[in-house]
């Protein structure tokens, strides 16, 4: 019985595999491989230019105790030109039929695509031999509509350093992504995890090259890698202000009763009436830098209240400003705002009982569209965030060809469950959504979900907890 675990301990028994960065720069191949022409150089038939990806996706990737904070194994690690990291599929067994997809810049036409693949886990000879690596793979090139442009099967060798796969493309067809599907593997000596350390993609095309886009994507990838490392360090350190018992939460979904939800949500009105007219800017002494994995998804907007879990860590500065914070997008354009807060206090006029404010995020492209959140935070007698009432207003993606601009209004109740140490160990989120379209005959028709949605976020214990 093989163990489903990629062995991360860096027991380096042999020299490192060829560095992808060195290969990109034109260095020769690593041990046991033929030198491969670097991007920008002529080979016998082709002139190669590198195509970058900011992120990769895969049908699965391994998540276990050896990779607590996803410092590794994520599919995007095949892009970082670092053989010490790898994509490790996460399916049971050897991962046949698991696939990794690299989105590429859209090209109208191209003669060929070259993949340079660092097969297996090339961090060390030990890891390379103990883990599995793909043997037979299907390489599929996709266009912007995710239609298959061409697909071919090829056999990878059990080689340290890079190996080259060239895919000739049909004339007149564009490309926008490449997918590698594992069909068979070289088993590892110990583990049944199939790994690919790096994949570099080059193209031979007459379409003018856009170095700005390629460089931007690679910089975004490197930024993600660096950010992931920072987060891992932060999770491992677990500072006192980190309000969560775990660094990762997993969600379990169920449905709830609509009427019961409405009755519970009505309590918000009564609490809202106790808010005073004075406006405040909430300030925390030490901020929570990173949210746990699983809670940090974009549509959770947990960052709105992540600093406000404990009332005794919050100082309220009286202000006349309507808006107390703003953050900008990557272009320096304002993107998100937070309003000043109104507060309800206890009988002693000191303890915070409730806090209400608004958050707004605006996406600006040709038009603008906003995501509005109205929050009411309710604290228990110990000053811990007990319940969050929230109304979220979103513009959904179109659901079909003729169904653009669906608006979704969602009311939510978040309930927090604490452990003995006063850290959040579970979060129950009930919500009820209403939808309406802005256009056409059905424009004014509002549709309410038949059931309330119930999601439980359970903390996932890890070694250090």
């Amino acid at each position: 019985m093989r163990v489903k675990r990629a062995f991360v301990l860096a027991v380096v028994l042999c020299g490192m595999g060829g560095s992808a960065a060195a290969e990109r720069a034109g260095a020769g191949g690593a041990t046991g491989t033929e030198p491969v022409p670097a991007a920008g150089q002529e080979s016998a038939q082709h002139r190669w230019r590198p195509l970058r990806s900011a992120e990769a996706t895969a049908t699965s990737y391994l998540q276990n105790d050896w990779n607590l904070y996803q410092e590794n194994y994520h599919p995007s690690y095949v892009l970082d030109e670092n053989p010490a990291t790898a994509w490790v599929e996460g399916a049971k067994g050897f991962g046949e039929n698991e696939a990794i997809t690299l989105p590429l810049s859209a090209l109208r036409s191209a003669r060929a695509l070259r993949l340079r693949i660092w097969n297996g886990y090339q961090k060390s000879m030990h890891l390379w031999t103990k883990n599995a690596m793909p043997r037979r793979v299907r390489v599929t090139v996709l266009d912007a509509d995710e239609e298959e442009v061409t697909a071919s099967e090829t056999e990878l060798t059990r080689t340290r350093g890079p190996q080259e796969v060239v895919v000739d493309l049909p004339r007149g067809r564009g490309l926008a992504a490449v997918r590698i599907t594992i069909l068979s593997v070289y088993p590892g000596l110990r583990f049944d995890d199939t790994c690919i350390s790096d994949i570099l993609v080059d193209v031979d095309s007459d379409v003018p090259y856009n170095p700005v886009a390629e460089n931007a994507k690679h910089e975004a990838l490197l930024k993600w890698v660096a950010g992931r490392k920072d987060q891992a360090r932060y999770f491992a350190s677990r500072p006192p202000e980190f309000p969560f018992a775990f660094s990762r939460f997993v969600s379990k979904k169920a449905s709830g009763d609509r009427q019961a939800f409405k009755q519970r949500f009505a309590a918000r009105e009564a609490i809202g009436k106790t808010l005073g007219p004075t406006r405040y800017k909430p300030v925390t002494k030490q901020s929570v830098k990173v949210l746990p994995d699983g809670l940090s998804e974009e549509n959770n907007y947990a960052e709105d209240f992540a600093q406000l879990f404990k009332a005794d860590r919050v100082a309220l500065l009286e202000t006349k400003d309507d808006v107390v914070s703003r953050s900008d997008d990557e272009d320096g354009n304002p993107r998100a705002w937070t309003s000043s807060a109104r507060v309800a206090r206890g009988p002693d006029q000191k303890a915070i009982q409730a806090l209400a404010f608004e958050a707004k995020e605006v996406i600006t492209e040709r038009s603008t569209w906003s995501y509005d959140r109205n929050l009411l935070l309710v604290y228990d007698g110990d000053g811990r965030l007990q319940t969050l009432y929230r109304s979220v207003n979103n513009f959904s993606e179109s659901e079909g060809e003729d169904d653009y601009d669906t608006v979704t209004d969602t009311d939510e109740i978040w309930s927090f469950v604490y452990d003995a140490a006063g850290k959040v160990r579970e979060i129950d989120v009930d919500s009820l959504a209403r939808h309406h379209r802005m256009y056409g005959k059905k424009a004014a028709r509002e549709r309410e979900d038949r059931r309330a949605k119930h999601v439980v976020y359970l903390g996932l214990p890890d070694k250090s907890s």
């Binding site: 859209a106 931007a216 605006v362 492209e365 038009s367 569209w369 906003s370 601009d405 802005m438 509002e446």
Partner: protein, 367 residues
């Protein structure tokens, strides 16, 4: 992106089978016009790479309404019926046609183009959409100002000479090159480019709000594509702001440096040592589009002029560079009289497509 007024009109046309309103059906009898149209940007208005990339980010009905003919197949883009079909109240179908047709005089009226090339920016907020006062496109207003300053010509006379349905415009790089005059001055005080639009009756660039020109330089002999450095950008810039009292966001235009007819723009290239290579590039999308890489570079850029500068008084224009413009004989010499105030006033006086759009949205967005 185009306004909605045209669509409003089309929605009321006499119902007919889509195939009979498709451009290919018209092509059976109007072959020359059909073949010209097939090479036009109108024919690919719903399928071109920039529209599709934009629509992927903003899948709005607002865009669909004007990038596709509501009467024929969506992929046909702006087809024959989009311009030639008349409103239902115009009467019975014309002889041999599926619908009533617009009168020839109407087809020659620039107001017909205004319907799709002048409209406001929508804001999707608080569960509804509202049309803001910021024009997303304003080519028609620019043309009005140009006319008011003494310019000659109409949309049709420039873009459809002799009735050419190819409707050459910004997507024809050769036309763009002919429409830009670049003069190089290389003196001890520094090298400069003087840019001016030539024979253009609106801003340059105009149309989509993200279009812009850049002047870029790099050391001659440095072949790296990423060695180019932008020294000037001509086009519109925007910012998102928030009214804190209402928590309502709005987009504002912070600058518009597109070339105005008859108003040259001088760009300093610096006084650095060594040979300098320069180029003027037309960008069809935003800088963000260029970073995303989802649109091919071929569709995003057109290089309009290039050259090298060796030193004072030794400038060399690149091959195919346009001739120096002579404005002394141009009726647009009075163009500097163009002012934003006048443009705004004229826009207010006219019933813009965006107004009809706003009316439509205010009705449909009411909840």
């Amino acid at each position: 992106m185009m306004g909605l007024a045209l669509t409003l009109g089309l929605m009321a046309v006499t119902p007919a089978a889509p195939d009979r309103l498709g451009a290919s059906a018209c092509g059976d009898c109007h072959g020359t016009a059909f073949e010209s149209w097939r090479s036009s940007a109108h024919a690919v208005s719903a399928t071109n790479a920039i529209y599709r990339a934009g629509f992927r980010v903003e899948p709005r009905q607002f865009c669909v309404d004007c990038h596709t003919s509501t009467l024929a197949r969506a992929e046909e883009g702006i087809g024959c019926a989009s311009c030639h079909a008349a409103a239902r109240e115009a009467g019975a179908p014309a002889a041999g046609h599926a619908v009533a047709l617009r009168a020839r005089a109407d087809l020659r009226d620039p107001a017909l183009c205004r319907d799709c090339h002048e409209f406001a920016t929508p804001a999707f907020e608080e569960g509804a959409v509202r049309m803001t006062s910021l024009p997303m496109q304003r080519t028609y207003s620019e043309w009005l100002a140009y006319r008011a300053a003494g310019g000659a010509g109409t949309c049709q006379s420039c873009h459809m000479p002799g009735g050419d349905h190819g409707m050459r415009g910004a997507h024809d790089p050769d036309l763009l090159r002919r429409s830009l005059a670049v003069t190089v001055t290389d003196e001890a005080s520094g090298a400069r480019l003087t840019l001016a639009s030539a024979g253009v009756g609106h801003g340059f660039p105009t149309g989509d709000l993200f279009r812009h020109l850049t002047v870029e330089v790099r050391a001659a002999g440095d072949a790296r594509e990423d060695a180019w450095r932008v020294v000037d950008r001509m086009g519109r810039r925007f910012e998102t702001r928030l009214d804190g009292a209402t928590m309502r966001a709005y987009k504002v235009e912070t600058a518009d440096t597109a070339l105005v007819p008859g108003v040259p723009r001088v760009v300093a290239l610096g006084t650095g040592r060594g040979r300098l290579e320069w180029r003027v590039r037309y960008h069809y999308g935003s800088e963000r589009d260029e970073r995303r890489g989802v649109v091919t570079a071929e569709a995003l850029f057109a290089t309009l002029a290039t050259g090298t500068i060796d030193g004072p008084s030794r400038a060399r224009l690149g091959q195919g560079a346009p001739p120096r413009a002579d404005y002394s004989a141009s009726p647009r010499a009075a163009w500097p009289a163009f002012s934003r105030a006048r443009s705004r006033r004229r826009r207010a006086e006219l019933s813009l497509g965006s107004r009809a759009t706003a009316a439509l949205y205010s009705r449909s967005a009411s909840r």
